[in-house]
Amino acid sequence: MRTILVAGLLMAALVSTAGAASAAEIGRIKSVAGDASVVHGKAITPAQAGQLLQVGDVLRTGANGLVGITFVDNSRFAIGPNSRIVLSEYEFDDTTHAGKSLTTVNRGSLAIVSGQIAHENKDAERVRTPTSVLAARGTRFVVQVGP
């Protein structure tokens, strides 16, 4: 009886972990040059090509850092040197293409090619800076914060 219960709990844990992992991927790092790291919760790891990204992750680059990212809605980021970028919100239904995203630029530079979220949901792909919120309307743009 006890064995069955433990096995059941293990199964439930495995299933929920698998579900969380597959549901959580919002994009991945395609390229890294120079110093760059990903802050995920309390863990800080060097950024690596192929690394999966989740909501809440923070990307940081040093003086020579560059990072390229693709998202599941086909939007793309290029992050420049001396940047701190937070993937604050991201929701995308890949069947209906409903969704929204919010990226926070605390400092540095971010170039964006917008994706399906912006194409199919008006003003839903957003970027926040210290003074402003920007909404992309199907476009390629650059946001710079700081010197």
């Binding site: 560059l66 890949d94 069947t95 090619v113 003074t131 309307r137 476009t139």
Partner: protein, 193 residues
């Protein structure tokens, strides 16, 4: 629920970092000749629009005031060198009622074999024509995408972990009314990011 920074905090932050004076947004030309689109600048506290950039190669300061577009004089070449390439889309057609690649799609399959690696970020999206109801077509297109992934794995492509999606009768390749049997709309797109 999200805490909103009061204005004095934003001002303090700007003064402390000497940052906001240089904050700006630049609208570039659309990629590959696409329209430039636009960027709307919104006041975070009130939600009011401060203005827009709508012309390619213009920029505006983000200083909390109204948007005043100016010509853009730089190209951001170093930054844009880090921009990943656009996703590539390969469309495959299948013999009706099977997961067997139609003869005209064999060349596409060969091309995929050359470019897909185990590190590829692959999405497989199924579509249907407009026969049947929308909910049934969502399921059918997903089932088809799952079957196609299995078929591509069988063909030796490293796509076992590809994301699969069914988009039903959305995004018809050939526009038709409801209830139209259209082979070109029964398709699967393999998207490489």
């Amino acid at each position: 629920m999200r805490p909103v920074a009061p204005l004095w905090a934003i001002l303090a932050l700007c003064l402390g970092l000497a940052a906001c004076a240089n904050d700006r947004v630049a609208l570039l030309s659309g990629e590959g000749g696409a329209p430039a689109g636009g960027v709307v600048v919104i006041d975070p506290a009130s939600g009011a629009e401060r203005g827009q950039l709508t012309d390619a190669n213009t920029q505006a300061q983000l200083d909390g005031g109204a948007v005043r577009p100016r010509p853009l004089t730089e190209h951001f070449d170093a930054l844009l060198s880090a921009m990943p390439a656009p996703p590539r889309v390969f469309t495959l057609y299948f013999i009706e009622g099977t997961t067997q690649v139609a003869p005209e799609s064999v060349a596409t399959l060969d091309e995929l074999r050359k470019v897909v690696t185990p590190a590829s970020d692959v999405q497989i999206t199924g579509y249907t024509d407009t026969t049947g109801d929308a909910a049934g077509n969502d399921k059918l297109s997903l089932d088809r995408a799952i079957e196609i992934r299995a078929a591509l794995v069988q063909e030796g492509l490293p796509v076992a972990n590809a994301r699969v999606t069914g988009r039903g009768q959305r995004d018809l390749r050939v526009q038709t009314g409801p209830g139209v049997n259209e082979p070109l709309n029964r398709r699967v797109e393999v998207i490489l990011r």
